[in-house]
Symmetry: C2
Subunit: 664 residues, 2 copies
């Protein structure tokens, strides 16, 4: 209780309810049979996490009879008149949400119509409730935006008869797992109109019981008190429809993770993150936060974002609204999307991906049309006015040009050459206008490792072990989500992970890979194969998806197609690099043994015409106590595609940034 | 062996040695007594991690007699002529490195002189070794930059007599722990001149044995073969001196973690990272990678970096060299440093900090002088030429103005309103020219958490539990490093952490804090206390360091000194926010219950004159399924100061970025 005494004095009245309720439920729990277990309460709110009920072995049956508080958002809803005896189960998909495969069904539609017909009446009821006693709302009316947004009820509404009694069946998810809890609310507890719309937020207290009518649910919650309702503006809510395709959900990047599909993907993403940290920490690696702002270009040929304070001036005519695209951007997008569709048609890749690509292209064409129409009326986009056309670099924050890092490996090397084994995990940036947005965003998270006293093969081993570890991790920790994903996105994903854990990866030299690919009888490759070219996506896909059907490590590439820091092999033609190519995704990991011989690095930097001054600190690592070392970088966002089978990285990144797109 | 067969064909010859050696040592290990344990080999190189030898309970005694390969960098070295019987122990500090407390000592000096006198002779020996048989170098000559950098030996050197036999005693660290291994090399194995300099990298094979002469070391390695030497350009190596103060080490941010002090700090930093991930994952939180590039300003009043591709043009006259500072920058730095010194003198804070500050100020003055001198000769700094003084925003990569995020909390909210409990951990950016660089860098890592269905007190509880968890974690996981840190940086650090774990934190309302501070009899506070002011560092320090002597949580601040999204309390004067203030560091954590009532947020946004369009997506979260939620942000870099007792955050960040400083 001591904590409670520390309760902020001026805290809003709800706080007191909040704890009153807690002790209430506690008291009731007391009186319940000691033998019966209670679901563990969440430490930082007064609710029970649904995962702890629904993902237990018995699906929560062990908790039946318990009074609990749960919170979440409505996925599907249905109101049944007391007269009607229809069991709702068959219309209620478990964890359905926005991507539910079950058709809306006649009943849902009629129920919505019925509600809309009765809106004025509900409004008056709400008004009375909100204004008056807190009974039905457990004192939450203050927090419900409903009251403020409602116009005064028309007098005639007051004299209307109350609606016939009904029972609402809701599937509620709190985002802790793929499954949803069936929540049953009698119209005597609260007016269904308030919480039936998809996306409504509810905090309710009730008794966990066995479902009254048999169905796929093993338990349901019979609600006795509603503690909070966060209503939805039905017509404006982007996820109100039963089925919203992923590419449309992208336009609602602040809401889409309320869909079971995106939520599952993001939970898997989270598990992959912690799995990776666990792997490296158990392996004796230290985590290093390498800088984002840098003046050292890790590659010398990628287009970069500058970080500056020279443009802090306001726009003259700020381009209003959210997501204007310059015409240039849209046209580039159309070019890229069309070629993608072609590519997908050629390689008989999965239908889903092709369908998505086609729809994507169509959408972009429409956008272009709209934009052209729009550009007739709207004033030309905003301009930034600078003092003159010459910007003084000395006046910038760092008194020099800096950019957002494209790779953390160079800085990581400096730590490997002191702490031994290190890794980094953070955002990396590329301002590539013509990148394929399905595989490359402007901001992506990379996992980078660097190992001192090691050589190319050690890095390969580490990359392979890490990949196997996190695949195993996600299968163990995300059973529910992976089950859902294999139902909804990619039936093969679980098999793919199990195969990835079990098999030993193919390792072939670049030279041999070229020979193998030359032998491919059908002349289907667009890029003809000669030693020295960088293998294209179609080449890599052939090796991983068709020939070996497992991860393939291709090593020792021609020096001219690899960064300056890769170690020159004794043949003087190839460098000690490797790419790990995986089925479905293509190149997932790039690694290399980096050149520890200073004169070799200097030579490469000069050959490539890179500004040597900016690499002096990097050369210092070779001047003083140089050591053989190797490492790799894993494109974490692509890893999420590999695990989930999603075809587009924009659906695997919380707030994707691509050419012309940064909307929040 | 299957892996070995996959060995890259064109891999440099060393690879084969590398594995030959592995199997050799393996074979020898075989023949050793079965009962004797072997130190676990590191999986991704052929060496043993020193931590696994030195931080075991018996300090490695259990491994005596084993043949092992170890690698690392020379911390201290000493050569003893065979004639002399002097035991070296007393001159060799364990884990000494650059910040060793033991005085250099006459012998070291003489040894260095002696070596320099014999350089030409050693060169000739090296030349012969390098050119000829690989015996002494175990085939590593190819990887040693020595050969390439040496001029041909002069003829007369050939006829000189070889030097008298000697034994070299080295302390070698591989960065895996604070302790170093004593490595003993006879001059018959390799010429001492190659590896005596501090910072030399060594990979050696030898037998672990009990020290021949008693001392602080429990085991030592008798070297039989040197597998790799990474030499040092003694005169240029910034860490060659025995004692380099931290503020000077900052100039060598790519090397300073080879000092035991910085290395320990960075290992602690790594442990704090993993501890935090563990806390949140165990607690049912999901990790969300919030975007760095955003157009939504989380605060509306902090100066930000723009991310742009509009300035990708080359500089006309690139400011050459590495770290030019605009005069403006230096002057600002001097202002801030002087005021810091004053502040430190006032509050009788620890002498170390004051000394450091004074030295820092002196250095900056010198810099200013040099700069003025330099500016006479050098041409004016580089300019960027843009097409015109009007930059077309539509031509920028995102067709709009974007900046680097100052806080991830707004984006995190969007995920809390779907997944329930989420956290983020990543870099955040502030372009604040007048920030105190001891506490604020331009790029800092923040740990942010957001909890749905929670209120202010829940966030306080979570912040307190998290802080206690990671303090406990670091005490358990970093025993060696914390021991070293308490010796070298802050004797009180371990007690402070134990107290932080044990005590329950003081929680007082802002209002009460003001009353308490008013009562402070001595009128020492510069800022006079009136309700409504933001408490200054000196106020906070008084509460945490002097009055309560433990973490203090101050909550419910006046609305006008807090961001727009903080929830308005029922008194309509204060908002539901809190700061956690800790001894030594000051404000470490800021938290708040965020406003879930849409009209309240809209009002605040308008009152503050923020561009409402950019917050529409944020308001949407209140329009559709709003929920009470709270969260907090922990300044991770300051957490490292709290744990280690370091006075300056620039020594806790791998590559710090501050005004005018971004050198790699």
């Amino acid at each position: 209780m001591e904590r409670r005494e520390n309760l902020p004095a001026t805290q809003d009245s709800k706080t007191n309810n909040h704890h009153q309720q807690q002790s209430e439920s506690a008291a009731i729990a007391e009186n319940q049979s000691r033998t019966q277990p209670a679901p563990p309460p969440f430490r930082f709110s007064n609710r029970v996490i649904l995962k702890n009920i629904l993902e237990g072995e018995d699906g929560g049956v062990g908790f039946v009879g318990r009074r609990i508080v749960v919170g979440g958002w409505v996925r599907t809803s249905k109101e049944i008149r007391k007269e009607s005896a229809a069991a709702p189960e068959q219309q209620l998909p478990a964890g359905g949400g926005m991507v539910s495969r079950t058709s809306p069904g006649h009943k849902d539609v009629s129920c919505v119509e019925m509600l809309q017909a009765r809106i004025p009446l509900f409004r008056s009821i709400i008004k009375i409730l909100a204004g008056g006693s807190h009974g039905a709302f457990g004192g939450s009316s203050g927090t419900s935006p409903v009251r403020e947004k409602l116009p005064p009820a028309s007098p005639e509404s007051r004299i209307q008869r109350p609606p016939p009694p009904s029972t609402a069946y809701l599937l509620v998810s709190d985002g802790s797992c793929a499954a949803s809890l069936q929540v049953v609310v009698d119209s005597s507890v609260a007016s269904p109109a308030l919480f039936l719309p998809i996306g409504t937020c509810l905090l309710v207290e009730g008794i966990l019981r066995l479902p009254q009518s048999p169905g796929k649910h093993r338990v349901e919650l019979s609600v006795e008190k509603i503690l909070h309702i966060g209503t939805v503006e039905k017509d404006k809510y982007p996820l109100a429809a039963k089925r919203v395709p992923l590419e449309n959900l992208r336009e609602a990047s602040h809401f889409r993770h309320r869909s079971t599909t995106v939520a599952s993907v993001m939970r898997v993403r989270s598990a992959l993150t912690f799995g990776s940290h666990t792997f490296f920490n158990n392996g004796g690696f230290f985590y290093v936060q390498v800088p984002i702002i840098t003046n050292t270009d890790a590659e010398g040929f990628s287009s970069k974002f500058q970080a500056t304070t020279l443009l802090s001036g306001k726009e003259d005519a700020p381009a209003k609204g959210g997501d204007e695209l310059s015409m240039e951007a849209v046209k580039a997008a159309i070019r890229e999307k069309s070629s993608l569709v072609e590519e997908l048609k050629r390689s008989e890749s999965n239908r889903e991906a092709l369908a998505a690509a086609v729809q994507d292209l169509r959408k972009t064409d429409q956008l272009a049309a709209q934009l052209e129409a729009k550009q007739q009326k709207t004033p030309k986009p905003g301009f930034l006015t600078t003092k003159s056309s010459k910007l003084n670099v000395a006046e910038d924050f760092f008194s020099r040009q800096v950019h957002l890092t494209v790779s953390g490996r160079l800085h990581l090397e400096s730590y490997a050459c002191a702490l031994g084994n290190v890794y980094a995990f953070g955002p990396r940036f590329r301002a590539d206008r013509y990148a394929n947005p399905r595989y490359q965003a402007a901001e992506m998270w990379m996992l980078e490792a660097e190992i001192a006293f090691s050589q190319l093969e050690d890095a390969m081993n580490c990359a392979e072990e890490h990949l196997k570890f996190i695949c195993k991790w996600v299968l163990e920790k995300c059973t529910g989500d992976m089950g859902f994903i294999s139902n909804r996105i990619d039936k093969t994903c679980i098999d793919r992970l199990q195969a990835t854990i079990a098999c030993s990866y193919e390792r072939i030299a670049y030279m041999d890979a070229v020979e193998i690919l030359k032998k491919v009888t059908d002349k289907r490759f667009e890029t003809s194969l000669v030693w020295g070219i960088d293998l294209t996506a179609e080449h890599l896909s052939y090796l991983a998806d068709e020939m070996f059907k497992k991860p393939v490590i291709i090593y020792n590439h021609p020096r001219d197609i690899r960064p300056f820091y890769a170690r020159l092999n004794d043949d003087l033609k190839t460098v000690a690099t490797f790419d790990m190519v995986v089925p479905k995704v293509g190149k997932l990991i790039s690694g290399s043994q980096n050149e520890e011989r200073i004169h070799m690095v200097e030579t490469r930097i000069k050959e490539l015409g890179l500004p040597i001054a900016q690499y002096e600190w990097y050369l210092d690592l070779r001047r003083h106590g140089t050591v053989k070392h190797s490492g790799f970088a894993l494109a974490f966002d692509l890893m999420v595609l590999f695990v989930t089978g999603l075809p587009d990285v924009r659906d695997a990144i919380p707030f994707p940034r691509t050419f012309g797109k940064a909307n929040n």
